[in-house]
Amino acid sequence: MRYRNYGFLLANLILRDFRIRYRNMSLGLFWSLLNPLVMMAVLTFVFTRIYPNMAVPNFHVFVLCGIIPFNFFAVAWVSGTISVYGNAGLVKRVILPREIVPISTVLANCIHFLIQIALLLAVVLAAGYKINGYWALLPIVFGLEVVFVCGLSLITSALDVYFRDVRYVVESANTVLFWLVPIFYSFTVVPIRFHALYQYNPIAAVVLACRNILMEGKAPPDTLLFKLLCVSVLFMVAGLLVFGRLKRKFADYL
């Protein structure tokens, strides 16, 4: 296929998802703020009043550092997974590089992610933490998470065309991951022998890096960032390969 600038197409697809979602809602973007705040309040209540947890100061900030990267991951992954099937009309009838369908869906979710990150930073500052130089690492950390979700969604969205069960697998995996990502518990209580496992999980890595930067005011360990980088890029490359291989039969299965 001849080279073409796909920026305009990507921008329009993102805008489409965004418009469709908010056009018929009365509260609109407010939902992006409400959901993490409610989760934060509930988890803080449970883990400071019911199971008192003295080890972690400012538990609400601590838990929000976990909820926001995880929420983005969970929602973007599910919507990315069902995107190819959900856009069957486009995929079957319109000439376009099909990779753009799951990628634009994930990127459309980034708009909420940005709003929620702004919320996180506001809560961090309100709790008395100061801006530090390591904040400059945040775009890289969150950016790698987006790359990871894009790669993962390329794989699962392609598989979902052939087996519609994939979306349920993804939903179940999200429920499991909520417990296996250190959202409401600290990484320090995880036994050492499981540490590597956690660090190779990009979502856990993002949560840990967030806490390092925002709450401890220090740079995340180089090894953590390196693992995050490797896993994210690996998934992106694998995603493009798998999708490229499976897309040839999409029109026959949709």
Binding site: F8, L90, K92, V94, A251
Partner: protein, 243 residues
């Protein structure tokens, strides 16, 4: 130079494909010969040059849409080779890529992007597209309030403004009213005069006669005949028992 060349192209659809995917996958691997294969297209050979216009005729299920989607690059042949040189614009389904909750104008922009417009070109052409469609003041209303004729007008207006090298049209022209159809015919003539290739699948034979010089008649996935459009359409009409 050939703009489109198909050499012995076949497209197979396996039956029961989605319900028993695993089993059909295994049986295809283990016993390739015994597998129940259904040819949507069988050994189709075509050669189209600049300025050619081809009518695709045949009954429902003859393989017309499959042929167009192969040429568009939306599906891949199981056997044979498809060569396409040039930018393809396809109108394969009424308003595919349109979204009912977006307004006409938003849909035009989205569709222009889908058809490969750059940002600047979309901005320059958008008024022209809206004007050609003749939608008027409804352009800022959501698409779900449009009639199917209005949706088609919009889709056609965008697709022809791309000035594609190859324009594929599947059936959709039929829903426009007569003045708009006349307008479309003129627009397509312009494209043809500029050396573009047109392929049109339809049951509206008057449209095909007006637009196409050549025709291919498909029957159960095979090419039954190829030749000048006027003769072949006459013959096709006789075979199905008059007009």
């Amino acid at each position: 130079m050939s703009v489109i060349r198909l050499q012995e192209v076949s497209k197979i659809y396996s039956r029961k494909i989605s319900r028993e995917f695993l089993r059909s996958f295994l049986s295809r691997r283990l016993m390739p010969a015994s597998h129940e294969a259904f040819y949507a297209l069988k050994q189709v050979t075509l050669d189209l040059k600049e300025g050619d216009s081809l009518a695709v005729i045949g009954s429902n299920g003859a393989g017309k849409s499959t042929l167009l989607s192969l040429i568009a690059g939306l599906s891949w042949p199981d056997e044979g080779k498809v060569e396409v040189n040039g930018r393809v614009a396809a109108l394969l389904e009424l308003g595919s890529g349109f979204h009912p909750d977006l307004t006409g104008a938003e849909n035009v922009r989205l569709n222009a992007a889908l058809l490969g417009f750059s940002r600047r070109r979309a901005r320059d052409k958008i008024d022209e597209i809206v004007e050609f469609s003749g939608i008027g003041e409804f352009i800022n209303e959501p698409l779900r309030t449009y009639s199917s004729g209005m949706v088609m007008r919009l889709a056609f207006s965008v697709a022809t403004t791309v000035e594609p090298d190859i324009l594929l049209i599947d059936e959709v022209l039929a829903v426009g009213d007569e003045p708009f159809q006349a307008k479309c015919t003129r627009k397509i003539q312009e494209l043809k005069n500029a050396g573009r290739v047109l392929i049109c699948a339809s049951h509206v034979r008057a449209t095909l006669r007006a637009l196409c010089s050549r025709a291919v008649w498909l029957d159960h996935g095979r090419v039954l005949r190829q030749g000048p459009a006027a003769d072949l359409i006459d013959e096709y009409e006789r075979s199905i028992g008059g007009a």
